[in-house]
């Protein structure tokens, strides 16, 4: 990615967005003093264009667009190492959750589509079946991402070991899960929840 010059001014700093992140994550970005311990322990930092400490720095400067246009937040594995080691108790793993949520709501301008697709299908499965249906998850992912042959060699082996089930039974109390999904949608429409 080409480096775009960053201009820090009242026009480019979006503090409202940062407040939303802080409300959702229940943690303050202002506590960070950039020691870099989060990035040092992050197993995924090598895959990110902005390592974790820089994500926090960009938030402090109100430059959130740079974050959600990139793929860093989608390459976080939620391993919680950063939150564990932060000397200032910045819960970075929760900040990553909040950023993904807000990016997701904005329909993800990020180029990282595979992780988003996997998440979307996972949640759809819960709504439809109540529980995860692994075979369907993997198959639909391959079809929708256009990688028809991905992990093809694993399929027969897993089926023969009983690790993939062809059919999946739905929960009896499925209507309750649908209610949870729709109540949350309703609350968001009314502005009662972020």
């Amino acid at each position: 990615m080409k480096k775009k010059k960053m201009i820090i001014s009242q026009e480019t700093m979006d503090v409202d967005f940062v407040r939303k992140v802080e409300a959702l994550s229940g943690t303050s970005v202002r506590r960070c003093f950039q020691c870099g311990k989060c990035s040092a322990g992050c197993p995924m930092a090598t895959f990110m264009e902005h390592p974790p400490n820089r994500v926090v720095r960009l938030l402090q400067l109100g430059q959130w667009r740079r974050i959600i246009e990139g793929r860093s937040i989608w390459f976080c594995a939620s391993c919680e190492t950063c939150s564990t080691r932060c000397p200032n108790k910045v819960h970075l793993a929760s900040i990553m959750d909040a950023l993904r949520k807000l990016s997701w709501d904005a329909d993800g301008p990020s180029k990282e589509s595979y992780v988003q697709l996997a998440n979307k299908l996972f949640l759809q499965n819960i709504r439809t079946y109540g529980r995860q249906y692994e075979l369907r998850l993997a198959t639909v992912f391959n079809v929708k991402s256009g990688q028809f042959l991905k992990d093809m060699m694993l399929g027969p082996k897993l089926l023969s070991k009983g690790k993939l089930k062809m059919f999946h039974s739905k929960n009896k109390n499925l209507s309750e899960i649908e209610k949870i999904f729709s109540r949350i949608e309703e609350m968001r429409k009314k502005g009662e929840a972020l």
Binding site: G26, A77, A118, N119, E134, K163, K165, I184
Partner: protein, 293 residues
Amino acid sequence: MNSKLNYAYYPGCSLHASAGEYDLSTRELFKELSIGLTEVPDWFCCGATPAHNVDELLSLSLCAKNLELAEQVEGDLAVACAACFSRLKFTQHTLEENATKRKQVEKAIDAPVKLDGKVKHLLEILARDLGLERLAAAVKKPLSGLKVACYYGCLLTRPPDVPNLDCVEAPTIMEDVLKAVGAETVAWTHRMECCGANFTLSRPGVVIQLTNAILDSAKAAGADCVMVGCPLCHGNLDIRQKEIEGVYSTSYNLPVFYITQLVGLACGLTADKLGLGALIVNPMPLLKEKQLL
């Protein structure tokens, strides 16, 4: 034993599918140890990583609903999967601390949130509720000579103050359990490094790179096998092992066991009852060599 231990059981989605052997060996081991286990009726998916990744309120609500369902069954809630365990504990912790989120969740599940029920990982039940002494007394065939790399992964211990299973950076609970059943444990570097978790679906290349480092470290420490308490870690280490060997032109041949499989083996359960045949890296040659089968 004065009183019988009884638990409500939340297997989680993986244990009903790709980690069927974890479910089987858990049930068989608990039966052998006379610990009661009753599955929570009609439990839902906890939402796992994808839910909290993009929608924390949904994740909290799904877990709160499961905690409510678990109330129907007497006893603390026993959880086998590290990710379900983490999410349920996280929900209890968050809703305890944050009144706004609690109100939102109560609205979403249309019921008051109940947070007093205890959520326990199988490791805690074996090491603390049953206790290492009683566990050692149940051993029929000590796992002597078997060198095991205990792999904690991410979610059993992190972040601090949430799972409260053991020390967040230097836990010993897995080693304690294995020593009680006569196995040897190795000291190694990658026991708490991330395996790449659910990137196995979206970005398998990431998993291959991270998991290779874990297998490499276990092998270098002289381990015969790896032990895990998480179906996703298991999938990455076991199912993808052959692929990793191919990519890095190396050979690990490290069988990956669930906690309940190794403890069950020591308690005299047969390979069938432990679902050892479902493992992708064949553990039989190793177990025969160590005269454990």
